[in-house]
Amino acid sequence: MTVIEVRNLAKRYGETVAVRDVSFSVEPGEIFGILGPNGAGKTTTVECISGLRTPDSGAITVLGHRAGDKALRSRVGVQLQESELQDKLTVREALELYSSFYPNPADWRGLVGDLGLTAKVKTRYGKLSGGQKQRLSIALALLGNPEIAILDELTTGLDPQARRDTWDLISGIRDRGVTLLLVTHFMEEAERLCDRIAVIDKGEVVALDTPGGLVQRAGDEQRIRFRPSVDFADELLTELPEVRELRRQGSRIEVVGSGNLLHAVISVLARDGIVAAELTLEQASLDDAFVHLTRGE
């Protein structure tokens, strides 16, 4: 049984087509990611799934109900990209208030602990930092013990430590059997957390695959940068079958190629007694895949 099924979703705002044609389905217990450039239609898509917007056409089923069905409100937790609280409301008051909305709320103290907000429970919303507001927003989305959590820009605005803590929290929630739909701009986050990713561009799904699968589509291009101990002629490396391109940036050299590139390059350099200092190797990443898939023509 699929948990979320989106078929040929389309939504426009006046003249602006926000979502042209989006279809995907999310399986139980899965962490499903949505990636895409700004304005691609990600938020519009998840807001349609959350029942906040009515699609112009297409069909969305969530837990067997039509999106927007009131039976879903206690079973789906939503963190909106832009949504605030009253400035004078304290963190604790907000959590207690929102707990009272749900038939079977989670223990908010636990959530607040996991999200590193315990020291701030008495603080008013207006006095929280951006990242702390974001953490509270995540807590509110998870407060109802939802079967599905829809999180739009989960970790935007969080510092690196808070981001990692949130990833741990999300993994823990998934282990409890919750299905997660994440919108994100962070490739590392998508790579770490997501079982599958839909890349959306200009309102359409341009790729839907596992993170590994997406990376493969970008090709297995590799990039080596180093500073040679003595200078050498380009041909020394460009004659190697693994090397496609050699560029010089001052005293640094960048070699682009594929296959067993590192081994081939190092062997030749070693043979001629050249030491490669400050050596780095970059492999194709989800970043490259993303740029490759959504490059504007």
């Binding site: 206690s74 939503v78 909106l80 832009e82 949504s83 605030e84 004078k88 009272s100 749900y102």
Partner: protein, 246 residues
Amino acid sequence: MSVFLKLTLTELKITFREPVYIFFTLLFPVLLIAILGNVPTMQETPPELGGLRLIDVYAGLALGLAIGIIGLQGLPSVLATYRERGILRRLATTPVRPGLLLGAQLAMNLLTVLVSAVLVYTVANLAFDVPIPESPLLLLVAILLNCSGAFAVGLLLAAVAPSGKTANAIGTFLFFPLMFLAGLWVPRELMPELLRRLGDFTPFAAGQDLMTDALAGQSPAFLSITVLIGYLVICGAAAVKFFRWE
């Protein structure tokens, strides 16, 4: 505790963290009475007032001022801000309907007006011998009707204003003429016929007439009741129809 009660208490709590709100709704009306009560001319009984003194009429006006401030300034700008900041949208993702927060705001403001009424009439009675109405029930009905007109207008403002700032601006723009017609500067009874007639059809003036009727022990004016219920029904329905949740 029901969710509505919890929402109302929460709204009450955060509103009372707003010193400006407390000042204008609870302190200012009492202050106004305390100051006016010490002005000698306020003890006069112009024949138009049918036996009441000016200060007696101003007790109702002081409360009407608080109702006007809430209806035209507090309510619309708070609700428009709730919309602007996505608070209503966030609620829409929970089992609670965002309309309940509107209801909680109305209940909270009504509660504030009732507390203010007790303060105003207690001070007015103890310090300046303003009579306590023979029928407190009529006074309560007058206050409730006065609020329903004002709050319905406020809701409609919140519904159509594009932002909290605009809501505030329109509210302020309406505030002074409506308060003038209600008699805040010259009591309605002493106004030229034309202005009084004009006032009959505005919410705060109609509300003020009911307050005076209750104080004088007269049966409430049918026209004022009709006008206020008209505002409640028409502005209320329009607000429900046009309210944008985002």
